[in-house]
């Protein structure tokens, strides 16, 4: 159990706007001083209207998030119903909690989703110790030391997409300036009533809609 790995180098962040949520994560797959690849997609699409960004040990992140994704799919197939974002966050938290005293999943998560039943987007900050909290914005990893200040200052109720993306851009710019670990690329995905779209993979400017 390497606490440095869990706390550290990888980043996932997110925020909610008036009718959407954005979840972003860096694209590095690395260990110690070696970078394996810079194009790893760490924002998994749980279903048509849910995003799960992860940061932590590569194996645990992948294994756990895919496990969640398949269980969410199974629920939909079995029942014909979609899980709400809140229900999904409870389920995720429960799985982390069960594993916590056996062999914890070393992965921190940002869950963003849009619920058509309530016509509202929501965001959950879930950490590897199985805490889950509904938030307006959040960030995991060392990067949070820089990013949270930006989010604290910039976030307000009722953001539109452009404003939301601009805040993400500022967060990433701050990391480029101040964070020791170079994170040259981010996956940025947005979820709203129409589903999920990829905003940008390399640079945090909005891709043409």
């Amino acid at each position: 159990f390497d606490r440095r790995v869990v706390r550290g180098m990888e980043t996932t962040l997110g925020l909610v706007g008036k009718d959407f949520a954005i979840v972003a994560a860096d694209r590095s797959a690395a260990r110690s001083i070696v970078v394996f690849k810079q194009d790893e997609d760490k924002v998994l699409e749980l279903d048509s209207h849910k995003l799960l960004g992860s940061a932590g040990t590569a194996a645990d992140s992948k294994a756990f998030t895919e496990y969640i994704q398949k269980n969410v799919a199974l629920y939909e197939i079995n029942t014909g119903l979609k899980l709400s974002t809140a229900a999904a966050s409870n389920f995720i938290r429960g799985e982390l909690a069960t594993a916590l005293r056996r062999g914890p999943y070393q992965t921190n998560l940002m869950l963003g989703g849009f619920d058509s039943a309530e016509n509202r987007a929501s965001l959950y900050y879930i950490d590897y110790l199985a805490s889950s909290n509904k938030v307006n914005y959040g960030c995991h990893g060392y990067a949070s030391n820089f990013v949270l200040s930006i989010l604290d200052r910039e976030w307000k109720e009722g953001l539109d997409v452009e404003q939301g993306v601009e805040i993400i851009r500022k967060c990433i710019a701050e990391l480029e300036t101040r964070f020791l670990v170079s994170l040259p690329a981010f996956t940025i995905k947005l979820v709203d009533k129409d589903g999920i779209r990829l905003l940008n993979q390399h640079r945090p400017e909005v891709a043409a809609a």
Binding site: T79, A86, A87, G94
Partner: protein, 275 residues
């Protein structure tokens, strides 16, 4: 395995063969039937009637209590109607002891779901879990099936108010209004004629009592339980087991209404035959 003795007489259905295949529930008969499951249904056909009706603003259920004598201490909770979770209730027809086991299992399933997802279990999923439990006893273990039919009344955000019927085989179906237990067919045909689908809860209460009036030997507040499930505007679910006095009044009203209708019909016949 059990073999019937050769001197066993033929069945009513003309087949001595069925006796060979009915002792053990986990065996099909040559006609492809599970006799034990069918016998379980027979047991329920002798049980007190239960009726469930979907209203526009709630679900109404009522059940006939068969074991009513002066010496019997009134139970603290109903023997027919049970709460499974804040948003689901059930009325039972059949062996009460069997029902209790399934009700306990249903309650646990509902809480397990709430624990896992932080939300109330969708009604159909709860029904399915109970039914899957029942099905086990038609396929494994050589134990007899549960001699119970349930009517489940519930509300969830996916489909609003819902009514489901489940039987000993483990199948279930969704209903707008239905009847189980003794004289269920008579009750069902009354519902078919009279139920429109636009009734409010209070109209459904009257209709439920009319159904029981038809299926029971004598309708009285002493031998029935009346129940309604409704959601208030603020989202709270309300389970109402109607208090005795209210039931007495409602039964009296229904009887009066039916008598008036009968008198009218008799008068109409008299007039027309007088021509």
């Amino acid at each position: 395995t059990r073999q019937c003795s050769p001197e066993l007489a033929d069945d009513d259905d003309g087949s001595a063969m069925s006796r060979r295949y009915d002792k053990v529930v986990t065996t099909f008969s040559p006609e492809g039937r599970l006799h034990q499951v069918e016998y379980a249904v027979e047991a329920i056909n002798n049980a007190g009637t239960a009726v469930g009706i979907l209203a526009t603003d709630g679900v109404v259920m009522a059940g006939e209590k068969q074991k009513v004598t002066k010496l019997l201490e009134a139970p603290k909770s109903s023997e027919k109607i049970y709460k499974l979770d804040e948003h689901v209730a059930t009325v039972v027809a059949g062996l009460t002891a069997d029902a209790t086991i399934l009700i306990d299992a249903a309650r646990v399933a509902a809480q397990r779901y709430a624990y896992q997802y932080g939300e109330p279990i969708p009604v159909e999923q709860l029904v399915e879990r109970v039914c899957n439990h029942k099905q086990l006893y038609t396929q494994y273990g050589g134990q007899r099936p549960f001699g119970v039919k349930f009517l489940f009344a519930g509300y969830d955000r996916h489909f609003g108010y819902q009514l489901y019927l489940s039987d000993p085989s483990g199948t279930y179906s969704g209903w707008r209004a239905t009847c189980i237990g003794q004289n269920a067919n008579a009750g069902q045909s009354l519902l078919k004629n009279d139920y429109k689908g636009t009734e409010t809860t209070s109209e459904c209460v009257t209709l439920a009592l009319k159904v029981l009036h038809k299926t029971m030997e004598s309708l009285s507040a002493e031998n029935l339980d009346l129940f309604a499930l409704r959601k208030l505007d603020d989202g709270t679910m309300v389970h109402t087991v109607f208090p005795h006095d209210e039931v007495v009044a409602l039964v009296a009203d229904v009887k009066k209404e039916l008598e008036a209708a009968e008198a009218e019909a008799a008068a109409a016949i008299a007039t027309s035959s007088g021509k």
